[in-house]
Symmetry: C2
């Protein structure tokens, strides 16, 4: 099987490591900070994690070269793909081998289910080399099985025991790392000698906090989306006849949209968290969009680009309430609802049973969406919000609004729109230089944490806007990132999801510029990710990180 | 206004020229070939183009440096955007200035309409420098006004006369270059001293022939689409749960789909011209797709990637006939049809009036498409074929087919699909090294053709798979590419559109491999366009050109 010229050239790239690991000779030791606390709900978190709570932060510092034991580790990729996953595994593999050449790394296939089914592969140099600096998770695949019950943990212990594995590395998002901590706690409690280390993965960028500056993959994915947004802006500004509504993947937070906006300066970017904070309605969002379309038309610009976060609908309080009520209504009346034959009958049933407030939100939706909400439900009986094509919904509603305004003489432009949805286009891109280095470093640091004998830590690199040699490598206790959240009627200790804060420096930078960008066409064209050119073209990470580092 | 780091670094790139122009000192002359013939319908073409028919091919060869007159030229960008348009203008500008520093270049804004409205700008060094090696047509914009009547030609003559312009360069596709030739013929006939030179532009790749190896922009656009297809393939192969149906821009030919298939090796690629050649029905296409889905499911692969050309529907003979009949039917009965209130009434009317053959094609379409065909018509009353979301139509029909097969026990897999449409993402990308050089060379050659005093030629570079220094620069008579085609009931002399030939070497290469690619996941990941790396990563042009050069 042949590979592309770029993949071939890129295979030779040697990711840069923090100085403490640069000699690759194991000459490091850990510096311990003070005991830590969880970000909130300390009493509850401590009760749940008696053995892994309060651990100190760790930083790797130069030390004596010691003889490492033979390390045997296993690794899983959990959840959605993110650029650089293969480099985490390569860094982990190289780190283990550097510490002791006899060390072994097992990969479990298909995500957490591989750990349960003991579906594994023992990595070799050849396998790892074939995947260095490549995108995708295809080396062992990924999966979305939740690893959270004690029965599952016992099975993991049994399978690891069979292979002689004494450390498991979980590469995943906030939920996967929460479960990694539960697993670590279980092993400690049961006196099972298996360490658990997490690595922060997600293109969504919502796994970050005071210690984890960013999750891996966010840099590359936002660069791919920004390349495309820039190209579309250039097209809009050349053809001058379309509004492009671009939906960006990520339901739980708008970091992707914010970063892409900061990189490309579109005419409009909706940030879900701001919509929620202002308790805006869908009509408010439509008015905001239509207003900018209208103002631009007034100066002869019947074109533009608007970024829409995939999760927008669920951040609009009225729609969120509507969906919750619809879920209950349709679940409670499932049998009767099935007997209704026509759309009219179903609409009448729903309209007559919704509360006044949600009924208004429901009737504000275009008919196609109303029908879609009633028609498609997932296997749990829930309304399939993710199937709503938000970008098309908004185009349709903006168009209606503009027609109303046209009738009143308020608007005299032309509105023609194209829609786009970017997600799968970036999740498996080959990692940027930043993500290639960051991921390799996270994997290498995970190996160092394993050799240090600790458990319940997340691999951590800090100072990310500096050259890789200056990055600080260490470990952050997983419990430190936790708070208690109510899910499905129960309190759960979970790693706190990082939403876009409307008082954050990155959001403020966006907010300070958006009115200008709306009218002035300050379009930026970032172009495709470069691997070989000048450092300022190839090595810079996200605008979000740069702004945060300047604070 | 700031520019991105890549745009900044890329601004310094100096495109490579053919050796004959490399010294930029005007030391060249033309070598004339034999008188030429049009590719078909010689008598009719000659009658229409009495003054510009039969011109010899021209090749630039080293010569004495002479003193060039002051040249005053105008340029327009015509039709859809293609990467590199700005470099054609930069090459033309530099060529004119190299020949005589007092020469001037005017840009007419918004495409052909700028020539008619005399909406112009006189280019300066600063303006040109700001757009070197950038994507888009935003330097002067583009437009789709047809320049084809004698009244228009007289207006162009008047406007050029006012500015003292003695040459017009038309950067456009087959139709724009046909009209450029009509304009050249008009000027000759009327003894108006204005030359006309064409440049071959279109991402679709359908302006090519024995002399024009490729149109500019095709290389860059297909590289952007292939980057994204590769990323999606990696995602499909990592998640192993989706079929991705990717529609690619281009209604008139499938060169884009063929080139992307040769670059990325997807599981399926539909080539419209093959569908037409085999007189396949839509059901045949669905069967072909469903068969591959089914065969892959049988070996446990419930995922894959299929490329679909935007123009597919119109290449299916039965659908083409249906659309023609629908257009006539709805036009002839427009008033009555408007009185029909319900979808049922409209469907009944259409079904009862279509011929037996087309009625079958109509009823084979999903209901949503049937309704769409009746509902949306363009300002000329025609069915809006371009609004049909072919990729979703095929997903829906494949899904139905698989359900039938499941009921019969023939298929036991899972089918979940994601759809994509790539077009605007690539039309305005910054040009690849190849397109940057090719476009700059086309513009520079156009300047040389102007200084040689000829008219009715297309700027031409040959030997494109070799380094730029070895390219042969010259001019090809526009009449030489023409044949007569029947359009709207009349014979028209037009530049022959190049469709994918099923006996061409590129198609045969694809056909020889597609069965293997369908099953084996030989996915290629080309990655993003690179500008600074090793030559084999940055400088290679299309697979199509490479295959054709090897013949």
């Amino acid at each position: 099987m042949s590979i592309s010229p770029l993949q071939d050239a890129r295979a030779a790239y040697q990711p840069k490591l923090p100085a403490v690991f640069a000699n690759r000779d194991g000459a490091f030791s850990t510096s311990q900070g003070e005991p830590t606390q969880s970000v909130a709900d300390q009493v509850k978190i401590k009760a749940k994690f008696a053995h892994t709570y309060g651990l100190p932060e760790l930083t790797f510092v130069p030390g004596e070269k010691g003889d490492s034991d033979v390390l045997k580790a296993g690794v899983i990729l959990s959840g959605g793909q993110a650029p650089g996953g293969h480099n985490v595994i390569a860094g982990l593999y190289d780190g283990l081998k550097d510490l002791n050449p006899v060390s072994e790394l097992y990969g479990f296939r298909g995500g957490p289910s591989g750990l349960l089914d003991n579906d594994h592969v023992l990595f070799t140099d050849g396998m790892i080399d074939a995947y260095r600096n490549t995108g995708g998770f295809d080396i062992i695949g990924s999966g979305r099985t939740k690893l959270e019950s004690e029965e599952q943990f016992a099975q993991v212990a049994a399978n690891c025991g069979e292979l002689g594995i004494n450390a498991v590395v979980v590469i995943g998002g906030d939920d996967s790392n929460t479960n990694a901590c539960l697993l670590a706690e279980y092993f400690c409690r049961e006196a099972i000698d298996i360490q658990v280390i997490g690595c922060p993965k997600t293109i969504d960028g919502d796994l970050k906090n005071d210690h984890i500056a960013t999750s891996f993959g966010f840099d590359t994915a936002t660069k791919v989306y920004s390349e495309l947004i820039g190209n579309i802006q250039r097209d809009a500004n050349s053809a001058k006849k379309y509004w492009h509504f671009v939906k960006l993947m990520g339901r739980s937070a708008s970091h992707i949209g914010l970063e892409c906006a900061l990189k490309t300066h579109p005419n409009v970017a909706i940030i879900s968290e701001e919509i929620a904070a202002k308790a805006s309605t869908l009509q408010d969002v439509v008015t905001y969009l239509a207003d900018i379309v209208c103002q631009r038309a007034a100066i002869g610009k019947n074109f533009g680009v608007a970024l829409i976060p995939e999760g927008l609908i669920e951040f609009i309080p009225a729609i969120k309430a509507l969906i919750a009520e619809l879920n209950d209504l349709l679940a409670d009346n499932a049998v009767y609802f099935e007997t209704l034959d026509t759309d009219d009958d179903r609409l009448q049933f729903v309209n007559s049973h919704l509360s006044a407030a949600t009924s208004q939100a429901f009737s504000s939706l275009p008919m196609t969406i109303q029908l879609q909400l009633m028609a498609d439900r997932d296997p749990h009986g829930n309304v399939q919000v993710s199937k709503i094509e938000t970008e098309k919904l908004l185009v349709e509603m903006v168009e209606s609004r503009l027609q109303e305004w046209k009738a009143k003489g308020k608007y005299t432009g032309k509105f023609a729109a194209q829609t786009h949805f970017f997600g799968y286009e970036g999740r498996c891109a080959a990692p940027s230089n930043f993500d290639a280095d960051y991921c390799y470093g996270l994997g290498y640091t995970a190996a160092a944490l394993i050799s240090s004998g600790v458990t319940g830590y997340m691999s951590c690199l800090q100072g990310l806007t500096k050259p890789a040699a200056e990055w600080r490598a260490g470990g952050v206790p997983l419990t430190m990132m936790m708070n208690v959240e109510r899910r499905k009627g129960h309190d759960h200790p979970v790693i706190k999801k990082a939403l876009v804060e409307t008082d954050s420096p990155a959001f403020k930078e966006f907010a300070a510029n958006r009115d200008k960008w709306a009218m002035d066409d300050d379009y930026q064209y970032p172009g495709p990710i470069q691997y070989f050119g000048p450092s300022e073209v190839c090595d810079l990470t996200t605008v979000t990180l740069a702004i945060e580092a300047n604070q």
